[in-house]
Amino acid sequence: MTTKYTKDHEWVRIEGDVAVVGISTFAAEQLGDVVYVELPAIGKQVKQGGDMAVVESAKAASDVYAPVSGEIIAVNDALNGNPEKVNEGAEGDGWFCKIRIANAGEADALMDASAYADFAKA
């Protein structure tokens, strides 16, 4: 149950054949107060690196990309109406969605926490 990170600042936690996905604490801090999250439809097929969600702060709207390929099987409905959950716990209660992983090897190439910390600092 390790958490991996993408260079586009998404995190992914693998739980069996399901990936829980969100944006990193660093990304949430950079965005500032999140005011809206557009979540994907359940059943949607996403491709690694392809569009998955949109996160909007007072400053800007940003695309959130799928860290792994697969099918969206759940979304965090609590973010509708309470987008501040992303700022309060980006890597906890502020998760975006769950993906049924199509290709088990895909997450291996992503960064671990310490590699991501170095990447975010740079």
């Binding site: 005011v35 987008p83 501040e84």
Partner: protein, 504 residues
């Protein structure tokens, strides 16, 4: 800051919403009672009186004058909003636009009675085509994004005519693009594919090459780009996209930097909108409607929308229906013929400047921006190595952030100094962006005054972040809670209980 008893600040009057002013029982006009009392609404009549604001005439006049005094305008002060080209609106333009023969026209008048207006539109079109080196122009689009839509619909029509309407669906858009570009492409049914930027703020040619293919419809590119830099590889980009069978849409928002110096047609552009309200000085930003004529290359000209003008001997006529046109128009952008008042203003500007004057517009806009860059780059970080810019200066807040001051705080502090802030947090490729477009119509003295203010604020930020965090201190409104406004928006005024009862 001393709070006042009245809520007014100096001679600036505090003002409530119009619904919160006056009383429902009051009115500024006395209407005679209607003749005839028979109600023919069959029970569908209004059950309660409409809760319209009740103001006497002097109250109504004061309400709007007070609001107007809270406005900021190019006629009032420097307006350095990047990407918006807030240049002076010459008064000669206004005088010409108010001539009865132009101002009092009706769009449904017979064309024999408006030959002068059509001649003006023909002359405007000739100037636009000469300046851009293009084949055809659709005058009717109402503003920039509408012009983008016109250009992309022409591209879609050309692809459909080639039988590739269903196979070429992908439009390439650089990640620094204006937000309207991907929105326009999506509205036309295209799929948007982002192209990366290089470290020095240009289109990444290698990334572009990997994204070309038989499903590419075209590219949407701004030049100068939103980082204020000229895309020096633009000819290569045009050749690459044409080689892949796609079309080149150029976002003309930044045309002010190159008007009279570069003809987009020579760069391989297939379609470009021209913001008359930016480059050709017609009012915008609350001061007037925009106008976004779209110029088209020979490849796209047959698909130009109706209406367009034709000359039949001495007489000018309008082609109103696609079946009467020589080409195969993709359709119609709006009910009538566009913004006549803006055509008059723009042509006045062109004729009063001449081709040499328009060239100087571009040169001076670039010179002014580089002067500001030279004065500011020791005090703010200039991303992309502080290389010379075109008509706008891109800075960021990276030297302020260690002191706890961000772009938003600097923008609010500028309000206290009497300036409309620059564009903030755009382009998105630069974190904490500050985009300043001085335009050519500001004097060196005004640029110096603005630079002095920014430099003083940068110095103050080093020791006094509290001043910035609580700014603005002197503006009519203090810092607004933008987060709450976005999370819990109140989109319309609702009557309070007392008023509701009174209306019944």
């Amino acid at each position: 800051m001393t709070e006042t008893v009245s809520g007014n600040r100096g001679l600036l009057q505090a003002e409530a919403l119009i619904f919160e002013t006056g009383s429902l029982a009051r009115t500024g006009v006395d209407m005679p009672a209607p003749k005839g009392r028979a109600n023919r609404l069959g029970g569908l009549g209004r059950k309660v009186a409409p809760a319209l604001p009740g103001l006497s005439e002097p109250e109504a006049v004061r309400h709007y004058v007070r609001l107007s005094q809270k406005n900021y305008a190019i006629d009032l002060g420097f307006f350095p909003l990047g990407s918006c080209t807030m240049k002076h609106n010459p008064r000669l333009n206004e005088k010409m636009a108010r001539l009865e023969g132009f101002a009092d026209l009706h769009p449904l008048q017979p064309t024999q009675t408006v030959q002068g207006a059509l001649l003006l539109m023909e002359e405007l079109a000739r100037w636009l085509l000469t300046l851009t080196g293009m084949e055809a122009v659709a005058l009717s689009p109402k503003a920039g994004a509408h012009g983008e839509l016109c250009g992309m619909l022409a591209i879609r029509a050309a692809l459909q005519a080639r039988g590739e309407g269903e196979t070429r669906k992908r439009v390439l858009v650089p990640e620094s693009a204006h937000g309207t570009n991907p929105a326009t492409a999506a509205a036309c049914g295209f799929i948007v594919d982002e192209i990366k930027a290089t470290e020095d703020g240009h289109v990444d040619l290698e990334d572009l090459k990997t994204k070309l293919g038989p499903d590419v419809a075209g590219i949407m590119l701004t030049n100068p780009n939103t980082c204020g830099l000229f895309e020096r590889d633009i000819r290569t980009i045009a050749d690459l996209i044409h080689g892949a069978g796609g079309y080149f849409y150029c976002d003309g928002a930044n045309y002010n930097a190159i008007v009279g110096r570069v003809r987009p047609g020579d760069l391989g552009v297939d379609a470009m909108h021209i913001n008359l309200h930016k480059t050709f000085s017609t009012p915008h930003g609350g001061g007037g409607p925009g106008a976004g004529p779209t110029v088209l290359s020979p490849a796209l000209a047959p698909y130009a929308p109706v209406p367009h003008m034709v000359r039949r001997g001495e007489e000018l006529a309008l082609v109103e229906h696609a079946e009467d046109a020589e080409g195969t128009p993709f359709g119609r952008m709006c009910a009538f013929h566009g913004q006549m008042g803006m055509y008059v203003r723009a042509l006045t500007y062109m004729l009063s400047h001449g081709s040499d004057g328009l060239r100087q517009v571009a040169e001076d806009s670039v010179l002014n921006a580089n002067y500001l860059l030279a004065r500011l780059k020791g005090h703010f970080n200039a991303p992309f190595g502080g290389q010379p810019c075109m008509h706008e200066v891109l800075l960021d807040d990276s030297t302020l952030r260690p002191h706890g001051v961000e772009t938003i705080d600097l923008a609010k502090a500028l309000l206290d100094e009497g300036y409309h802030p620059m564009t903030t947090y755009f382009p998105l490729v630069v974190h904490g962006a500050l985009l300043i477009e001085p335009t050519e119509t500001e004097s060196k003295a005004e640029l110096d005054r603005f630079a002095d203010v920014l430099i003083a604020l940068a110095e103050r930020a080093k020791t006094d972040s509290a001043h910035f965090k609580s700014a603005p201190h002197l503006a009519p409104m203090r810092r607004l809670d933008e987060t709450r406004a976005a999370r819990q928006p109140k989109l319309r005024w609702k009557p309070v209980e007392a008023l509701k009862t009174a209306a019944e």
